[in-house]
Point group: C2
Chain length 293, copies 2
């Protein structure tokens, strides 16, 4: 299977399970459910893909693993809703569609994000995710750490605080490890948790995720400078306008591109202890470099 | 011990544990941690109190139970931060202090709420909360349901949707069972989960919480009409201004007061199967009626 086929298969599987795991619009709170579903539609599904591939490495049943994949996507989708709010990045376009607060309204967007976060943990704690409650607790604790004040949310806070400051490369790296890296790392590790993998395998996946996440972010910064808004489905050039701390602002465009290549190559080497089951994960590191959105 | 002494003891215990369980301000995300702590300071600590008392009924160790109490308070505090935002209820005063978005800024307030929600689940999933992972999963799943789109967040959505509609008593009751009742019910049941209580005891506590939660909300509506903003530490008269669906708007002031008394008396009867260990819970039903804030 090519990576493209695998990604598209993941997207279909995730969409199917999103329909089953999200509440259907009903009663007075229908608008909330619609907004949750709206925010969970589309996207590259990169994190669910990483979770499912990580599960494959350890023979985890796909029916269980996809629940973890959807939980990760719930956290990712909620973070996009909140990051796009007027009080935060004030974005009106996401995945080629109006952002959730534009499509609905700000209050509904805030609540849809809040509800998606709760849903992620509800899904993980459910026995259908794994029969062993110890594993479910490990997943819950890891995702909560990755999503919280020492992970994703903390990273977003630093991102806002760094605007119009002059951060160094260390600060920008830490920011992105928290803001996007922590959730990508959880996705990559989740199969190891589900499959009771060895410490060695878990550490390898964490190291892979670390480099992959940074490569992903460097390319994100590059795309913000030279990407096509039409293709990306979101605005470009926003980082410079808002004085954001990016790799470009520190390394420049050329060295940033090189750095992304170095990180992607490095990411791949961490998978050396896995057999051909890790081939799609190997390809993802290349995909991250060549993506246009 | 009088109820007043017990409530004040709970407040001290919770404050101590909040200091231990919340991150200390450091690094670039210090502002986030400060905002989280700010939102977790003060208040009646009613939900932690209910959790701790519920634990007492089943001999749960206080050191474990207080972690659940703090997790519930994290969810409550985050919901207040988000409900107070300009896009929601647009409140500037809470517990006699500026609301979190006024004290900090909107973006920080949104993120502090998000991080407190994640922290609640991180605390529950930690082995320090209970040695049995099955119990930890039960707590996580129950809290996630109570907090999510079929609980607290769903209730807040209905509350916003009902503004300037003419809801009937059934709709208002459902709204409040979701918006405030679900989290109060989790607090009351949490000791039963931690102490592996019988179904009978669990159901009794759920029924108690159901009536207590509604009595609490009716009194909240009454206080909004005739309470003293100085004493309450928040604005009054906001429900009528914003055309909110309240018990007063449907039953009138006098019948609402009667209804609160009926509910409080009813709440107490559900505790008949417990011995004197439930005395403070019995007193809370009275306290809810006579509170001024």
């Amino acid at each position: 299977m090519t990576l493209e086929e695998a990604l598209s298969e993941t997207a279909q599987l995730v969409a199917l399970n999103v329909d089953q795991l999200l509440p259907s619009p009903e009663d007075a709170e229908a608008k909330l459910h619609e907004a949750m579903l709206y925010a969970m539609t589309g996207g590259k599904r990169l994190r669910p893909f990483l979770a499912l591939q990580s599960g494959c490495l350890f023979g985890v049943d796909e029916a269980n693993m996809v629940r973890v994949a959807v939980a990760v996507e719930c956290i990712h989708a909620y973070s996009l809703i909140h990051d796009d709010l007027p009080a935060m990045d004030n974005d009106t376009l996401r995945r080629g569609q109006p952002t959730t607060h534009v499509q609905f309204d700000e209050a509904t967007a805030i609540l849809a994000g809040d509800a998606l976060q709760a849903l992620a943990f509800e899904i993980l704690a459910n026995p259908l995710t794994h029969s062993d409650p110890y594993i479910r607790c490990e997943l819950t604790a890891s995702l909560a750490r990755a999503a919280g004040c020492r992970g994703m949310v903390g990273g977003q806070m630093i991102d806002l605080e760094c605007e119009n400051m002059s951060p160094n490369i260390g600060m920008v790296t830490r920011l992105h490890q928290m803001k996007t890296g922590a959730l990508i790392a959880f996705a990559c590790e989740s199969g190891a948790i589900m499959g009771r993998a060895s410490k060695e395998s878990t550490h390898a996946l964490r190291a892979y995720a670390h480099d992959l996440g940074l490569a992903f972010q460097v390319v994100d910064d590059v795309l913000d400078v030279e990407g096509d808004p039409e293709v990306m489905g979101k605005s470009a050039g926003k980082d410079e306008q808002s004085g954001k701390a990016t790799f470009i602002s520190i390394l420049g465009l050329e060295r940033s591109r090189e750095q992304a290549q170095i990180l992607a190559a490095q990411a791949k080497t961490h998978l050396d202890l896995f057999d051909e089951k890790a081939d799609l994960l190997r390809q993802v590191s290349q995909f991250v470099l060549t993506r246009h959105k």
